[in-house]
Symmetry: C2
Subunit: 325 residues, 2 copies
């Protein structure tokens, strides 16, 4: 039986989810829910319905993959969708996760279904790597490095500066910082400036003061002031040609000692040409897992910590034991 | 409530498990079971009992961590232990896992308890990495590299050669092979010789023919003939001084494309000063997880694919969501 999925919200992540579901042997996307006029949304082939009509699909969808943003969409949309379907989302506002979990847990329990929250790669796969590391080598130092990757939040901050027409910001991990953790030389958590640099590609408006723009960037608190930040001015054409991708990735690196005093290093890395496509693939696989768990009677809110990872794979346990163990 | 563990079998792995349990905030080792005379076994402090007296401990042990070898011990010992306790083991004879699983499943179900089989790092954490990779980026090439590490099986094969007094063999991954997978250059599974080399440190008996020993090594089928193998003769003192550790590790490396056609690389690596200490730490954490699952009503045989990874961590789900997600 094919797992029938809905996709709630159709931006970059929604498209990545639709592609991943289409490639899965055991899943299909039966509907995209949007707040826009459905006629205005062009998908890779999945029918589109208005979000207000979600209830009409309650009997035709096994799991709803929620692809809205964490800032404003998910906290409202997911509890609404839970009235009709199990849900998976990639809520990533770390500080608000406990509150969001409680809200989804109430909505899911009331509706007799389940919500798998905050999946993707961070939070998600990186959270698993952190948990495994802390459980297995507790006497150790752990650092997460991000990038090389485009940060939407930092790119947006650049675009708000006077005289900036467009811009893209890359977060770049410092190889020497990774090496200092990997080798055991680093004994204490690293400082912000030591871990990452920030590289900005900026299209200036005609006649804009480039020195003033550069100064506004490198002194901007929270975003850039605590980092070694480079600023490069490029043409709009060059920005479009070389910087329109959405690459990302990173490394969870743990180095310490096993209880008998021997060195141990654990490292989990991702290098992704497309952040939304990879995150979409994680969300899709988690949709499969959640459907299996709900079919087995699980209810309420869950995180990736609660999911047996074999459930993410299309094959059953016998196959996994024979071929992947 | 502290989780009371027994350790069945007290070699290198048993010692690693005892150390890991001693370092855990929520676990204690209450007994070591041995086939030897208990008076002849010196532990780090855990009382020792004879394996024939396991039944006396049924009410005083929450989970039994089975540290025997896969070749001869576990297939007999684990079903016996399951009569009294939930068990965790590191059974690693890949080809026999389905049969072993079935046998443990029967014994566990008959006794109304559970058996978590084949945990450690490979099988174990590497199995999880393979499963995650295949579930999330199915259109890709995956290779597992092992080492730099000591292979006991290959070292034993060296010691059986005429004229060899003692020997240690290291499996060494080829960095250029890792790079060819990582970069996407490799499109097909790599050949055996391309992935690893084998490095042998040999103590020759006095008067032995060293050329004959070298020839016997590099032409040995299955073990060395398919690899670029180097042989270095050392003194017994040098072998003891420089090659008595049990380092190991490796990398599960997957490179391919997400469904939308963008590159994706996933990499999970371990670099371990002591293979048995790290494996012991995994076994101990899995003992914690199994105790929680059994307390929740789970029965029968399980693998790492069936374990929600949050259960490996000493803290509860609320802490994990707030701090590690």
């Amino acid at each position: 039986m094919t797992i029938r999925t809905a996709i709630l919200g159709y931006g970059n992540l929604g498209r990545g989810v639709e592609q991943a579901v289409a490639a899965a042997p055991d899943m299909e996307a039966v509907v995209v829910f949007t707040r826009r006029d459905p006629a205005s949304v062009t998908t890779f082939g999945t029918p589109v319905a208005h979000v207000d009509d979600m209830g009409d699909w309650a009997d035709r969808v096994d799991v709803c993959l929620c692809c809205g943003g964490s800032a404003t969409d998910l906290a409202d949309q997911v509890p609404q969708a839970l009235a009709y379907f199990p849900t998976v989302d990639s809520f990533d506002t770390h500080a608000k996760i406990p509150e969001y979990f409680a809200s989804c847990d109430r909505a899911a329990s009331d509706a007799g279904t389940a919500a798998l929250i905050s999946v993707g790669w961070d939070p998600g796969l990186f959270s698993l790597a952190r948990t495994l590391g802390e459980a297995i080598v507790p006497d150790s130092l752990e650092e997460t490095f991000w990038g090389v990757g485009v940060s939407q939040g930092h790119s947006d901050a650049l675009r708000r500066i006077d005289g900036v027409a467009d811009a893209v910001q890359y977060t770049v991990p410092r190889e020497e910082a990774l090496e200092s953790v990997r080798s055991g030389e680093a004994r204490e958590p690293l400082e912000t400036r030591a871990k990452h640099t920030r590289r900005c590609f900026v299209v200036a408006e005609e006649g804009a003061d480039r020195d003033a723009i550069t100064d506004a960037i490198v002194t901007m608190p929270n975003y850039f002031a605590d980092y070694d930040t480079s600023v490069e001015f490029v043409s709009a054409e060059e920005l479009a040609r070389n910087h329109s991708g959405m690459p990302h990735g990173g490394t969870v690196l743990r180095r310490g000692s096993t209880a008998g005093g021997s060195a141990a290093t654990m490292e989990f890395s991702l290098d992704l040409g497309s952040n939304p496509q990879f995150t979409g693939a994680v969300v899709a696989a988690c949709g499969r897992a959640l459907h299996r768990l709900v079919s087995g009677g699980v209810r309420g809110a869950l995180t990736i910590f609660d999911i047996p990872l074999g459930a993410l794979h299309p094959e059953g346990p016998e196959h996994l034991r024979a071929h992947l163990l």
